[in-house]
Each structure stands twice: as C-alpha cells, then as structure tokens.
C-alpha cells in the first residue's frame, strides 16, 4: 500500500476511537467526577490536617500545600483510568466483530494497533488535561511552556498505559471480568505511587525521621507510576522526590515495552 493510503487508514482508526469516546457521555462524566472527588472532596477535606498550626512544627514538610501536591497525581489517575479502560473498546470490537473486519483490511496489523493506541492515548490525554482546568482551584500557576511540556509527557504516559490496556484485553475475555481486573490494578498502582502521601527519605532531615514501613517504601519505589507522578510534579509545581530524569526514562521505557508486547498479543488475536 502507498504511504498516503496507510496514513489515511491510520487516521480512520484513530478518528473512530476519538469519535466514539467523545460521544460517550458516561466516559466523559467519569473524567470529570474523578478530579472533582479527589481534588475538591479529598483534597479540601484533608487540607486542615496538613496545614500549618505552629511555625516550625513538622506536619507536612513538602514545600507545597496538600492540594498542590495532590494535583499532578489526579492528572495521572485520570490518564490511568481512561487508558486502561480503553481495553474495553478492544474487547467490544472483538465481541461484536468490528475487529475482524478491520483485521481483514489491507492495513498492516501494527498500524491498526498504532491507530487504536494513538486514539486511546489522545482521549486519555484529553481526560488528563481536563484536570488542568482546576489548576486555579489548587493554586497552581502554569506557564504555557509548563502546559505544553506536561501535555507531551502526559501523552507518552497515556500511550504506554493504553498499550498496557491492550495487553490486559488480550488476557480478559469478558466486560465483567475486565471491570474487576482493572480496578484491582489501577487503585493499588495509584495508592502506591506516592500520590496521596509524600515519600522521600532524602528530602529533608525532618522528612527522614517520618517513618514508613519498609515494605511500603519498597512498593512505592518499584511502582513505575511513582515516577510518572513525580515527573508531572516536577513540571507542574517544580517539586521532585526522585532525580528528575527518572520519570521521563520510565514513561518512555514503559511506552516502548508495552507497545511491543501489545503488538505481539495483537498479532496473535
């Protein structure tokens, strides 16, 4: 096939994913309700427990407010949900025969998968960027360059997680099974990514004496989402708990690895 034909095929698959997702009001409501619950309810609800009462007292030694600390993590949560839930679209296409029709088209399989993953990543990035609208509420001031850097990194993260969703879809046979499966993956990954509590023994002396059990520190450190959250914190509020290069290295590595595995799985389907 000619390159232009291939590109048109890729565009058609991407467009189908975009059209389907943006017309699905339930999915968009999910994209809104998560930031509202996590930032407006949890963030505001816990804020009094993290605010200063006595100057010099160690309570929450991160040099930002709790809402600012939480803000980048909620973006990652929105991307995680949307990307991994994208697998439902793959299962749907498989169940109702659309995938079969596409697979018999002259488009190469890697290109079909790329179109689907790019579509899912675009939607996940859109859901992540919806959280940016709440920056004013969280007292996070963003420059244009910060916004564009964040959007680029959010897209790479979404690409990796969407590919991961495809890998999951290849292993799950029903919608019901996937619902349970995805929640058992998303929530543990989110909670052990230093998203709602700070974890950096190297940050300050006061932070060092804040005791966390070793197993929790281990879980946080081996969780790749930890580095994605840390990377967005670095870009959006200028705070890193780990060396700044770790985040981009992890998300680019994740994107490449998961896409290759997804490609192998997709080729078998």
């Amino acid at each position: 096939m000619e390159p232009m034909m291939l590109l048109r095929g890729l565009y058609a698959i991407w467009l189908r994913e975009i059209t389907r997702a943006t017309r699905d009001r339930a999915q968009l409501i999910g994209g809104v309700s998560r930031p509202l619950i996590w930032l407006l309810i949890l963030g505001v609800g816990l804020n009094p427990y993290f605010r200063g009462e006595v100057y010099g007292e160690v309570r929450f030694v991160i040099p930002y407010t709790y809402l600012q600390f939480l803000f980048p993590a909620v973006i990652v949560l929105n991307i995680m949900y949307t990307s991994i839930q994208f697998a439902v679209s793959v299962i749907w296409d498989r169940e109702f025969g659309f995938l079969r029709e596409v697979l018999v088209s002259p488009l190469p399989r890697p290109l079909i998968l790329l179109g689907k993953v790019l579509g899912g990543s675009t939607i996940a990035t859109l859901h992540g960027s919806l959280v940016l609208i709440l920056a004013r509420f969280a007292d996070v001031t963003l420059s244009l360059s910060q916004m564009f850097t964040a959007l680029g990194l959010m897209f790479v993260l979404a690409f990796g997680l969407t590919s991961f969703g495809v890998i999951l879809a290849a292993r799950v046979r029903s919608f019901e099974g996937f619902g349970v499966f995805s929640n058992t993956i998303i929530l543990p990954l989110y909670f052990t990514s230093s998203s709602v509590f700070p974890l950096d023994p190297a940050l300050t002396r006061t932070q060092m004496v804040t005791a966390y059990p070793e197993w929790l520190v281990f879980l946080v450190q081996i969780n790749p989402i930890t580095y994605a959250v840390d990377m967005l914190r670095g870009v959006l509020i200028g705070f890193n708990q780990f060396p700044p290069g770790y985040g981009p290295a992890v998300i680019f590595g994740m994107a490449a690895l998961f896409f290759v595995v997804a490609l192998i799985d997709f080729g078998r389907s």
Binding site: T22, L40, Y55, L126
Partner: protein
C-alpha cells in the same frame, strides 16, 4: 431539499464543552475559609520581631518596610492591621521555639526568607527584597587564611552548613556570636578580622562606615534568597487575596516607593 449534515465534531465539542465548563465553574469554589475568617474578624495580625531593620524598626515614624507593606495590604483588603511584636522570633535556631501559632499571627514578617526550608512550614509571598551573606572587614575583603571570622547566622533561612563548609575550606577560624552587639564587639575589639552575617542584620550594625566596609559573599555556593511574608500553609483563599493585593500595590508603584524609602534596593555600603 435535504438538511445539511451536522459536523461529526459537533457532538464531541458540545460534550467536551459541557465538562470543561463544569470544571471551570468548580475551580472558583473557595477551597477553605481562611479569607472569610479574616473578613469576619476585620483584622489581619502581623507577627514581627522587635527589630530587624529596615524591615522592622522601633521608630514609630518609620516602622519598617514589612510593617508598612502589611498596612498597605490590609487597607487594600479593607481590613485593619494589628502588629504583634513577638520577642521570641529569632531567639532560637528552631522556629518551633518561637511559638508562633495561628491564633497569634495571620502573617509573619521581619526576616522570613523565601527558602525551601521556610516553605516546608509556611506559604510565602515574596516582597521584592533580597537577602544573602554579607562580610564586613576593614579592607572590604576577606582576611588571610587562619584569621578569626565572627559569624551571626540570623534566622532568615540562609544555609549555615554551606557557610561553615566554605569557612573550613579556607582555613578560617569561625566564632559563633549570639547577637549584633557581640558581632560588632568582635570586630571593633580586633578579636575577629572580619564578620559574616545576613544582609539585613548587617544593615542594623552600628559601625563606623569610614573604618569598616561591607561586601557580598557572592561565591556560587552562596545562594541569595528573596525575602517574603509568611502565611500559614493551607490558607489558600487568604494567600490568593493577599497576593492579589500585593500585585495591585506593586503595580501602583507604592511598593517601590516603600522600598526606596527604606533603601531596600540599595547595595550594601
């Protein structure tokens, strides 16, 4: 005649527009009651040390830059300023021992550096003033290696560890003093060949300008810090209102007039 086909993007744009508008509206919700509480009380309490010239002085006709700035901020917010002089500020290295509480202060001024350490405990509003390490000697330069150098670290958040390493690396014999009187005495009695202290503390030293000259320690490791007003962490609505008021004062030129009046922009003499 058939009706023109609606754009394929219309439905998507409407859905995204609705959720974005909803989040935008939510971003205007107040995340706390800190501003409302101060408005109800009609007063802002500013805690300052008894003296930290030129930011805080004991002269009622020129009470200091931070105090006059506090008055201007309170007036801009339609509130009254109550200055709370707290003798414990600066007496101890550990700010917790200053015993500043929410009940006593809404703002803390008179020597708060906008450093990571300060931001671990408070939110800061930079006041366009700068601090750093100042040296004072008869020659206007550091003396020969092996000389005694008296040091008064102050409380504004400059790194004492960096200073102490720098002194050791150059074989100076450091002598820690407790207050500005001891510092001046060490220099005038010849006990120390030079003294090092924080910029605003140096400004308050009563030394014969013809005999002693001050100079910045501007080695790369000595990071200067902007000075700030401290606000309690988590008091987001109050901080936003104070920041907006400061911007208005800055734009009107009143803040610059205050800085000129107190010689804040001037280099050390």
């Amino acid at each position: 005649m058939s009706r023109p086909r609606p754009s394929r993007w219309r439905s998507a744009a409407v859905n995204i527009g609705i959720v974005a508008a909803l989040l935008f509206a939510a971003s205007f919700l107040p995340p706390d009651t800190s501003l409302a509480d101060r408005q109800r009380a009609g007063v802002i309490k500013l805690c300052v040390p008894p003296s930290f010239p030129p930011l805080v002085t004991s002269d009622p006709s020129a009470p200091g830059y931070d105090i006059e700035l506090g008055q201007a901020l309170a007036a801009e917010l339609g509130l009254r300023l109550a200055v709370n002089t707290v003798p414990s500020i600066g007496r101890d290295y550990n700010p917790r021992n200053w015993s500043l509480t929410r009940a006593q202060c809404d703002l803390v001024g008179g020597g708060v550096a906008d450093s990571v350490q300060t931001r671990s405990f408070m939110q800061t509003l930079p006041t366009q003033t700068q601090t750093g390490w100042i040296g004072i000697s008869r020659t206007g330069a550091m003396p020969a290696a092996g000389s005694v150098v008296a040091v008064l670290p102050g409380t504004s958040g400059l790194s004492r560890v960096t200073l102490s390493s720098w002194l050791r690396a150059r074989n100076y014999r450091g002598k820690l003093v407790r207050d500005t009187k001891e510092l001046a005495q060490a220099l005038t009695s010849g006990e120390a060949s030079a003294v090092i202290t924080e910029r605003f503390l140096a400004a308050g030293l009563e030394l014969d300008e013809r005999q002693y000259q001050s100079f910045w320690l501007d080695e790369p490791q000595f990071e200067g810090f902007p000075m700030a007003l401290g606000l309690w962490k988590g008091d987001q609505t109050f901080k936003s209102a104070v920041a907006a008021a400061f911007e208005t004062i800055e734009r009107s030129g009143r803040a610059a007039q205050l800085r000129e009046r107190y010689g804040i922009d001037a280099e050390p003499q």
